[in-house]
Symmetry: none
Subunit: 231 residues, 2 copies
């Protein structure tokens, strides 16, 4: 069911860290910030938990039993772009560079400040998970999902319910081309097609979003459907 995605769940964070006290410490702090957490103590378990849970973010130590942290990062990156924050005692520039180039998004050196870690977690989640801020951002478009507000380039735009749902679908999948069938299925469920609702609503959105001489947001892909692209 499409509408379930507005259900605001707690962001899920996977911690892979073999020093048990540190793991416990981070775990508690994250829970206090209202995140859902899972802790594992070695690379292999970490990787399998990752695949099982598909968390919103991973905090990863480098010196791990069984499977090295860098390798964990690389394997995760093979199939996912979930943010990875490396948290380690290895503080040389070379190690930082290798860590980041292995697919990590951030690299924090122990001993670290928990406040900084939390701020970095927020920064990464903000980008990935609208649940955190309730916001989706694409190009110069900002959608506030809780408040059902839409801004383009700072100016507020009034949308009806359906218009908002349609735009939300596009905004959550920028760059993906949807055909009319997919769109109807998601925005107009319990609905037997046979009309051009989609076209009409795309028209409504364009009229409201694209002021005089403004960049086009929703592009037509003739013979296929529509995309939201920044261009």
């Amino acid at each position: 069911m499409w509408h379930s995605y507005r259900m605001e769940r707690k962001p899920n964070i996977l911690i892979v860290e073999d020093e048990k006290e540190i793991a416990k410490f981070i775990d508690l702090e994250l829970q206090a910030e209202n995140y859902e957490t899972v802790v594992t103590f070695d690379g292999v378990t970490g990787l399998s938990k990752f695949r099982e849970l598909n968390p919103d973010l991973v905090i990863l130590d480098l010196m791990l039993p069984v499977l090295d942290g860098l390798e964990v990062a690389r394997r995760i990156r093979k199939t996912s772009n979930t943010p990875i924050i490396i948290l380690t005692a290895k503080d040389s520039v070379d190690e930082k560079v290798t860590g980041l180039d292995s697919g990590a998004d951030d690299y924090l050196v122990k001993p670290f400040s928990i406040e900084e870690l939390l701020a970095r977690v927020r920064a990464h989640l903000r980008r990935v998970n609208p649940a955190v801020t309730g916001e989706v951002r694409v190009a110069d478009l900002v959608m506030n999902l809780d408040g059902r507000e839409v801004f383009r380039d700072g100016r507020r735009i009034e949308l009806s319910a359906k218009e908002f749902e349609l735009l939300e679908l596009f905004a959550r999948n920028p760059g993906k081309v949807f055909n009319r069938f997919e769109i109807e299925e998601k925005v107009w469920p319990e609905y037997t097609g046979g009309s051009n609702v989609v076209d009409v609503y795309v028209g409504y959105l364009r009229r409201k979003l694209e002021g005089e001489g403004e960049r086009r947001l929703i592009h037509t892909v003739r013979g296929v459907g529509y995309v939201l692209r920044e261009e």
Copy 2:
């Protein structure tokens, strides 16, 4: 090495830094890594350059004349989600937290290692590109299947639906020779031949893909059919 079709062009980086020697230094290093750069020395100019250029990433000092760096970050975030790396001498935890919570994606303290900065730039740029799952690359041709986009040598190519399907067939099987019957079967099913549609469409593709003096992509195998080969 860019990991996405969108990065076929040089990524554009805006540097906002008032210490001229540092700015120059970063600028040169980034250019050596094949980025396009623009340098500004105060907050207001930085912001207006940002709006003018819409860069792929911003490197931002905090202590700036005219308009404070934090304020610049906040204003950028109002309308955009371009990655921002704060680069500053302010090294307290509080300042880091404030910086990250103001919308920055990363926070690096001076004196910094240029290698680390470059690695972080790479990490952020990598992440900005929407993970393009269905991406096919052959020679200097990039097809984004989700987005139904085609690029050759960085420049975007507009294809009609049928043209795209035909090219997709070739691109998924580079080096394989297809005869006309196979092609009709896959791209024109429910279709009883008797014409030279295939030839015509190959012609269309060639016209669009192969600019003046450019390498040939779709080769004719006389008496048999066509192949996509890099040569």
